[in-house]
Amino acid sequence: MRTTQNVATQKDGHYSDPPLLVLASLASGPKHGHAMIEDIATLSGTHLGPGTLYGAIARLEQQGWIEPLPQEDRRQPYRITPSGLAVLKAKLTTLHHFAQAGLRRLESQ
Protein backbone atom coordinates (compact mmCIF):
# COMPACT_ATOMS: atom_id res chain seq x y z
CA MET A 1 0.00 0.00 0.00
CA ARG A 2 1.33 3.40 -0.85
CA THR A 3 1.76 5.65 2.11
CA THR A 4 2.33 9.36 2.12
CA GLN A 5 1.78 9.71 -1.60
CA ASN A 6 -1.75 8.52 -1.15
CA VAL A 7 -2.48 9.96 2.22
CA ALA A 8 -3.55 13.27 0.90
CA THR A 9 -6.70 15.26 1.03
CA GLN A 10 -8.32 16.82 -1.95
CA LYS A 11 -8.82 20.55 -1.96
CA ASP A 12 -12.48 20.11 -1.07
CA GLY A 13 -11.47 18.25 2.09
CA HIS A 14 -12.39 14.73 0.97
CA TYR A 15 -10.07 11.99 2.09
CA SER A 16 -8.31 10.24 -0.77
CA ASP A 17 -6.27 7.12 -0.17
CA PRO A 18 -7.85 4.52 -2.47
CA PRO A 19 -6.41 1.34 -0.87
CA LEU A 20 -7.36 2.50 2.61
CA LEU A 21 -10.82 3.54 1.42
CA VAL A 22 -11.37 0.12 -0.16
CA LEU A 23 -10.27 -1.63 3.03
CA ALA A 24 -12.58 0.59 5.09
CA SER A 25 -15.46 -0.15 2.75
CA LEU A 26 -14.92 -3.91 2.92
CA ALA A 27 -14.70 -3.77 6.72
CA SER A 28 -18.51 -3.69 6.81
CA GLY A 29 -18.82 -6.79 4.60
CA PRO A 30 -18.02 -8.15 1.12
CA LYS A 31 -18.81 -5.88 -1.83
CA HIS A 32 -18.36 -5.75 -5.58
CA GLY A 33 -16.92 -2.78 -7.44
CA HIS A 34 -20.04 -0.65 -7.80
CA ALA A 35 -21.08 -1.19 -4.20
CA MET A 36 -17.60 -0.24 -3.01
CA ILE A 37 -17.63 2.99 -5.00
CA GLU A 38 -21.04 3.99 -3.63
CA ASP A 39 -20.06 3.05 -0.10
CA ILE A 40 -16.79 4.98 -0.31
CA ALA A 41 -18.63 8.04 -1.61
CA THR A 42 -20.96 7.85 1.39
CA LEU A 43 -18.13 7.13 3.82
CA SER A 44 -15.64 9.76 2.72
CA GLY A 45 -17.20 11.91 0.00
CA THR A 46 -14.58 10.60 -2.43
CA HIS A 47 -15.77 9.37 -5.82
CA LEU A 48 -13.21 6.86 -7.03
CA GLY A 49 -12.87 6.31 -10.75
CA PRO A 50 -13.04 2.72 -12.02
CA GLY A 51 -9.33 2.68 -12.88
CA THR A 52 -8.38 3.95 -9.45
CA LEU A 53 -10.65 1.39 -7.79
CA TYR A 54 -9.17 -1.54 -9.66
CA GLY A 55 -5.64 -0.23 -9.14
CA ALA A 56 -6.33 -0.34 -5.41
CA ILE A 57 -8.05 -3.73 -5.60
CA ALA A 58 -5.14 -5.27 -7.51
CA ARG A 59 -2.59 -3.99 -5.02
CA LEU A 60 -4.61 -4.99 -1.99
CA GLU A 61 -5.13 -8.46 -3.42
CA GLN A 62 -1.43 -8.69 -4.14
CA GLN A 63 -0.70 -7.85 -0.51
CA GLY A 64 -3.20 -10.46 0.64
CA TRP A 65 -5.33 -7.86 2.38
CA ILE A 66 -8.46 -8.60 0.35
CA GLU A 67 -9.59 -11.70 -1.50
CA PRO A 68 -12.18 -12.47 -4.19
CA LEU A 69 -15.34 -14.40 -3.46
CA PRO A 70 -17.29 -16.50 -6.01
CA GLN A 71 -18.72 -14.30 -8.77
CA GLU A 72 -22.32 -13.13 -8.68
CA ASP A 73 -23.51 -12.89 -12.29
CA ARG A 74 -20.53 -11.12 -13.83
CA ARG A 75 -19.81 -9.04 -10.74
CA GLN A 76 -16.85 -9.90 -8.58
CA PRO A 77 -17.27 -9.40 -4.83
CA TYR A 78 -14.30 -9.05 -2.53
CA ARG A 79 -13.85 -9.38 1.19
CA ILE A 80 -11.23 -8.14 3.58
CA THR A 81 -8.84 -10.74 5.04
CA PRO A 82 -7.73 -10.93 8.69
CA SER A 83 -4.37 -9.36 7.78
CA GLY A 84 -6.25 -6.64 5.88
CA LEU A 85 -8.32 -5.94 8.98
CA ALA A 86 -5.15 -5.65 11.07
CA VAL A 87 -3.61 -3.24 8.56
CA LEU A 88 -6.80 -1.19 8.42
CA LYS A 89 -6.95 -0.97 12.19
CA ALA A 90 -3.30 0.07 12.45
CA LYS A 91 -3.64 2.72 9.76
CA LEU A 92 -6.86 4.15 11.15
CA THR A 93 -5.34 4.25 14.63
CA THR A 94 -2.35 6.16 13.29
CA LEU A 95 -4.64 8.56 11.45
CA HIS A 96 -6.76 8.98 14.56
CA HIS A 97 -3.73 9.91 16.68
CA PHE A 98 -2.51 12.24 13.94
CA ALA A 99 -5.91 13.92 13.61
CA GLN A 100 -6.21 14.35 17.38
CA ALA A 101 -2.74 15.86 17.66
CA GLY A 102 -3.40 18.17 14.72
CA LEU A 103 -6.74 19.32 16.12
CA ARG A 104 -5.21 19.95 19.55
CA ARG A 105 -2.65 22.21 17.92
CA LEU A 106 -5.37 24.08 16.10
CA GLU A 107 -7.39 24.48 19.30
CA SER A 108 -4.39 25.79 21.20
CA GLN A 109 -3.94 28.65 18.77
Binding site: H32, G33, H34, G49, P50, G51, T52, L53, Y54, G55, I57, A58, R59, E61, Q62, Q63, G64, Q71, D73, R74, R75, Q76
Partner: protein
Amino acid sequence: MSPTLTRLLIRLYPRPWRNRYAAEFAALLETWPSTPRTTLNIISSALHERISPTQGGPMTPSPITLGAITRKPSAYLPIALSLLALTVVLTAVTLNGGPVREADEGSAAHIWQILMALQAPILLIFAIKWLHRAPRRAAQVLALQATAVAANLAAVFFLT
Protein backbone atom coordinates in the same frame (compact mmCIF):
# COMPACT_ATOMS: atom_id res chain seq x y z
CA MET B 1 -19.81 2.92 -21.49
CA SER B 2 -19.95 1.26 -24.88
CA PRO B 3 -18.51 -2.26 -25.25
CA THR B 4 -16.14 -1.01 -27.96
CA LEU B 5 -14.66 1.74 -25.78
CA THR B 6 -14.53 -0.67 -22.84
CA ARG B 7 -12.53 -3.18 -24.91
CA LEU B 8 -10.18 -0.47 -26.17
CA LEU B 9 -9.51 0.89 -22.70
CA ILE B 10 -8.95 -2.55 -21.19
CA ARG B 11 -6.41 -3.31 -23.91
CA LEU B 12 -4.26 -0.50 -22.49
CA TYR B 13 -3.56 -2.68 -19.45
CA PRO B 14 -0.75 -5.26 -19.56
CA ARG B 15 -1.76 -8.81 -20.45
CA PRO B 16 -1.27 -10.37 -16.98
CA TRP B 17 -3.57 -7.73 -15.50
CA ARG B 18 -6.13 -8.33 -18.24
CA ASN B 19 -6.02 -12.07 -17.68
CA ARG B 20 -6.95 -11.52 -14.06
CA TYR B 21 -9.26 -8.52 -14.03
CA ALA B 22 -10.57 -7.84 -17.58
CA ALA B 23 -13.88 -9.69 -17.21
CA GLU B 24 -14.95 -8.11 -13.95
CA PHE B 25 -13.56 -4.70 -14.95
CA ALA B 26 -15.57 -4.86 -18.20
CA ALA B 27 -18.71 -5.77 -16.22
CA LEU B 28 -18.13 -2.69 -14.05
CA LEU B 29 -17.45 -0.37 -16.99
CA GLU B 30 -20.53 -1.48 -18.91
CA THR B 31 -22.71 0.12 -16.27
CA TRP B 32 -20.47 3.15 -15.92
CA PRO B 33 -21.34 6.47 -17.60
CA SER B 34 -18.88 7.32 -20.35
CA THR B 35 -17.22 10.65 -19.57
CA PRO B 36 -13.83 12.11 -20.51
CA ARG B 37 -12.89 12.04 -16.82
CA THR B 38 -13.61 8.32 -16.57
CA THR B 39 -11.64 7.65 -19.74
CA LEU B 40 -8.66 9.62 -18.43
CA ASN B 41 -8.90 7.82 -15.10
CA ILE B 42 -8.70 4.43 -16.82
CA ILE B 43 -5.87 5.51 -19.14
CA SER B 44 -3.77 6.83 -16.24
CA SER B 45 -4.45 3.69 -14.19
CA ALA B 46 -3.45 1.49 -17.13
CA LEU B 47 -0.21 3.44 -17.53
CA HIS B 48 0.45 3.11 -13.81
CA GLU B 49 -0.13 -0.62 -14.07
CA ARG B 50 2.39 -0.81 -16.90
CA ILE B 51 4.99 1.16 -14.95
CA SER B 52 4.38 -0.55 -11.63
CA PRO B 53 2.61 -3.84 -12.40
CA THR B 54 0.70 -5.89 -9.89
CA GLN B 55 0.81 -8.78 -12.37
CA GLY B 56 -2.71 -9.88 -11.47
CA GLY B 57 -3.75 -13.50 -11.18
CA PRO B 58 -2.51 -15.59 -8.37
CA MET B 59 -0.41 -12.98 -6.76
CA THR B 60 3.30 -13.56 -6.71
CA PRO B 61 5.51 -12.06 -4.01
CA SER B 62 5.85 -8.35 -4.51
CA PRO B 63 8.26 -7.87 -7.41
CA ILE B 64 10.84 -5.12 -7.53
CA THR B 65 9.63 -3.25 -10.58
CA LEU B 66 11.63 -0.92 -12.79
CA GLY B 67 9.34 1.92 -11.68
CA ALA B 68 10.02 1.18 -8.02
CA ILE B 69 13.77 0.86 -8.41
CA THR B 70 14.15 4.05 -10.48
CA ARG B 71 12.47 6.00 -7.70
CA LYS B 72 15.42 5.20 -5.43
CA PRO B 73 17.72 8.21 -5.04
CA SER B 74 20.77 6.08 -5.83
CA ALA B 75 19.13 5.23 -9.17
CA TYR B 76 17.99 8.61 -10.34
CA LEU B 77 20.63 10.90 -8.79
CA PRO B 78 23.49 9.79 -11.08
CA ILE B 79 21.24 10.27 -14.11
CA ALA B 80 20.17 13.68 -12.88
CA LEU B 81 23.81 14.64 -12.24
CA SER B 82 24.76 13.41 -15.72
CA LEU B 83 22.00 15.47 -17.30
CA LEU B 84 23.11 18.49 -15.30
CA ALA B 85 26.71 17.95 -16.39
CA LEU B 86 25.59 17.63 -20.01
CA THR B 87 23.68 20.88 -19.64
CA VAL B 88 26.85 22.55 -18.33
CA VAL B 89 28.81 21.35 -21.37
CA LEU B 90 26.16 22.38 -23.87
CA THR B 91 25.70 25.76 -22.18
CA ALA B 92 29.45 26.41 -22.26
CA VAL B 93 29.60 25.45 -25.93
CA THR B 94 26.60 27.62 -26.77
CA LEU B 95 28.01 30.64 -24.91
CA ASN B 96 31.33 30.25 -26.71
CA GLY B 97 29.58 29.96 -30.06
CA GLY B 98 31.11 26.60 -30.88
CA PRO B 99 33.64 24.01 -29.69
CA VAL B 100 35.67 25.21 -26.75
CA ARG B 101 39.45 24.75 -27.05
CA GLU B 102 41.09 26.07 -23.93
CA ALA B 103 44.54 25.32 -22.60
CA ASP B 104 43.36 26.35 -19.14
CA GLU B 105 40.25 24.60 -17.85
CA GLY B 106 37.45 27.03 -17.12
CA SER B 107 34.89 26.94 -14.35
CA ALA B 108 32.46 24.98 -16.54
CA ALA B 109 35.02 22.20 -16.83
CA HIS B 110 35.52 22.11 -13.07
CA ILE B 111 31.78 21.98 -12.43
CA TRP B 112 31.48 19.17 -15.00
CA GLN B 113 34.26 17.21 -13.29
CA ILE B 114 32.66 17.61 -9.87
CA LEU B 115 29.26 16.53 -11.19
CA MET B 116 30.74 13.45 -12.85
CA ALA B 117 32.90 12.55 -9.85
CA LEU B 118 29.91 12.77 -7.50
CA GLN B 119 28.21 10.02 -9.46
CA ALA B 120 30.87 7.40 -8.75
CA PRO B 121 30.08 6.72 -5.08
CA ILE B 122 26.34 6.83 -5.74
CA LEU B 123 26.68 4.36 -8.62
CA LEU B 124 28.72 2.10 -6.37
CA ILE B 125 26.09 2.23 -3.62
CA PHE B 126 23.36 1.47 -6.15
CA ALA B 127 25.25 -1.48 -7.61
CA ILE B 128 26.06 -2.96 -4.19
CA LYS B 129 22.52 -2.53 -2.93
CA TRP B 130 20.47 -3.62 -5.94
CA LEU B 131 22.46 -5.90 -8.25
CA HIS B 132 21.97 -8.94 -6.05
CA ARG B 133 18.38 -8.11 -5.08
CA ALA B 134 17.03 -7.35 -8.54
CA PRO B 135 19.77 -8.12 -11.08
CA ARG B 136 17.72 -7.47 -14.23
CA ARG B 137 16.13 -4.23 -13.05
CA ALA B 138 19.39 -2.97 -11.59
CA ALA B 139 21.19 -3.76 -14.84
CA GLN B 140 18.57 -1.77 -16.75
CA VAL B 141 19.09 1.23 -14.48
CA LEU B 142 22.88 0.86 -14.72
CA ALA B 143 22.58 0.78 -18.51
CA LEU B 144 20.60 4.00 -18.37
CA GLN B 145 23.19 5.55 -16.09
CA ALA B 146 25.98 4.38 -18.42
CA THR B 147 24.18 5.93 -21.39
CA ALA B 148 23.98 9.25 -19.57
CA VAL B 149 27.70 9.10 -18.75
CA ALA B 150 28.52 8.14 -22.35
CA ALA B 151 26.49 11.10 -23.62
CA ASN B 152 28.58 13.36 -21.40
CA LEU B 153 31.88 11.88 -22.54
CA ALA B 154 30.82 12.16 -26.18
CA ALA B 155 29.83 15.80 -25.69
CA VAL B 156 33.16 16.60 -24.04
CA PHE B 157 35.13 14.67 -26.66
CA PHE B 158 33.43 16.16 -29.70
CA LEU B 159 32.55 19.65 -28.51
CA THR B 160 35.53 20.72 -26.42
